[in-house]
Symmetry: C2
Subunit: 341 residues, 2 copies
């Protein structure tokens, strides 16, 4: 988590204690009704991380209501909503009011929103969006935190998923269940996440003395591309016993196409997706193992860092948060309840 180790935030304390940031703040500020066991666990976590109850944390529950602008740089949806929910969760209902603006990939529209937010005298701004690629910073005289996306200015505070780490966990899991011929099917090569994840796959396999089965296949973030990619792997004569996909939608398409040609998942081909989107992981036959970027956690951390910055304790730099792997039937032989149809 890089910089986070040098500058522990209340989000780190919360994570270590296994509670929400709101609960951690209450515990550290002696507010709210918490079980004493919880309060002690949080304080112990704070001690371990030598976390200072800074101005930000002290003010989190001082009763002041913060007004925060949230700008999505492209249409609000599957990625920005969990971030928004997490941000709202961080302080509990009413502690923070969120002004939501949708930039829709339109810089002029975004500038208009920024002006509106300033005229609304917001305390700070959270910028989020659909792509993890770094974007030009928003220049305002206010604290700004970038969540999920990052700013091209290394001094800005960006809270992003560790996509490289997430892809490495997927590959390590597939190797751990004995797969050595791992293909990779992902999104457009010009897309930052597709490139980063594909590189992580190649690097992790190389560390194990392996290489990707066939070339990494770049295409659309869609089920149709996943189905087409299977046709390409088979037509190319690529020998593979696992496929790691850059998204759950792609993996879903791969699963359907493999079944159509009689290749069993996971027996013949183990399958792992990315996003842990329940609609896809549950709909997939069998249920899909996937990498979870913990978007709500990103939102909570971003909100906590923004409020700390508002209160004079900024957390500059790029903060990469860990992804975790959720293992389901597509990469384990025994069938669980999700697979019964």
């Amino acid at each position: 988590m890089g910089k986070l180790e040098r500058h522990a935030t209340i989000a780190d304390v919360a994570a270590l204690a296994g509670v929400s940031v709101g609960t951690a703040s209450k515990a550290l500020n002696g507010r709210g009704s918490l079980r004493e066991e919880t309060r002690m666990r949080v304080r112990e976590a704070a001690r371990q991380l030598s976390f200072e109850v800074n101005a930000g944390a002290r003010n989190l529950h001082s009763g002041r209501t913060y007004t925060v602008g949230m700008i999505t740089t492209d249409t609000i949806g599957r990625f920005s909503i969990p971030v928004l929910m997490g941000a709202e969760d961080a302080l509990g209902a009413g502690q923070m009011s969120v002004f939501l603006c949708d930039g829709r990939d339109d810089p002029i529209r975004e500038q208009y929103h920024v002006k509106t937010l300033l005229s609304r005298r917001v305390d700070g701004i959270i910028v989020t969006g659909r792509r993890t690629q770094a974007r030009a910073p928003i220049s305002v005289g206010l604290p700004v935190v970038y969540a999920f996306i990052s700013s091209t200015d290394p001094d800005d505070c960006s809270v992003v998923p560790d996509e490289t780490g997430g892809a490495r966990k997927a590959v390590e899991h597939l190797m751990a269940i004995g797969r050595t011929r791992i293909a990779h099917v992902t999104g457009p090569e010009h897309h930052h996440s597709a490139r980063v994840r594909a590189q992580a796959v190649a690097d992790r396999l190389a560390e194990a003395g392996l290489s990707v089965a066939g070339p990494p296949l770049f295409g659309a973030w869609s089920e149709i591309w996943g189905r087409q990619a299977v046709g390409m792997l088979l037509a190319g004569g690529t020998s593979f016993d696992a496929v790691f996909c850059g998204s759950d939608q792609i993996a879903r398409g791969v699963a359907d196409a493999l079944r159509a040609v009689g290749r069993r998942v996971p027996e013949d081909v183990a399958l792992v997706g990315f996003d842990n989107w329940d609609v896809m992981t549950r709909g997939c036959q069998p249920p899909l193992t996937s990498v979870d970027m913990n978007l709500e956690g990103l939102g909570r951390t971003a909100a906590e860092m923004l409020l700390a910055a508002i209160n004079g304790t900024p957390s500059p730099g790029r903060h990469a948060r860990p992804c975790h792997l959720v293992v389901r039937e597509s990469s384990t032989v025994p069938l669980g309840p999700e697979a019964r149809v």
Copy 2:
């Protein structure tokens, strides 16, 4: 559209002219740069609907910036976001600022949000949510418009999809392509939308001297339920040449299960879903015909009605907006580009 015929709104004018509400407002208020042809078309539409450029419309682009609270009664997501986007679209970026609050099905949390919004001196509140079922009104001394969901108070302004009309269009389409043994697989029987759509199916078939093939099957809003339901239809010996499903996810499951047993869609069984959710309609094999509730249109209408109410011209009552059917390969034999895999 019931009440709308008695009280044409700028949204109706926009719809008739085939432009956005923002464009219609500009045309009627002589603001903004529009092609003269567009301006004339909007004015002709207004004349046809004997739409009065009321105080609300006149003020839409008077330069005043409105602050509107938007409360979702359950977690923000697939249904509330398009409504929010449509509401934001209605007036163009910056004309309206949206304070977004997520009630998460928690009345206490919702009350807290309402208080916060009042303390923020919002001009009005749009209430939306995931279910179309009527809910207890929010009692505040401000204009409130319910969008997608409706208020139990018939004097409140609610803008809702005409689910009955949408289900009837699906059945009429299936009958028009020659299907007479139409099964219905939908969500939980306690769910308002499931009941309303199932009743509409039974009524429309009865009008044609037909009845539902087998009993309507109520279950979860999931692909897994769709797959299970096919097993029940086959085990029950039900003869069917079409299935209309209460959601695209259910229809997707039905399509997969039919393919697994060698029933061809659409040749043997025509298939129609509900929601027109692109993730499902495109991923489905073949691409899925579906009923579209025009959620962005609901949001635009709700925002326009809210601002009209703020400006002294309320639109009380339940305003049902039409759904439309989007026909794809699952209910037409020739294959289109979406189906090429």
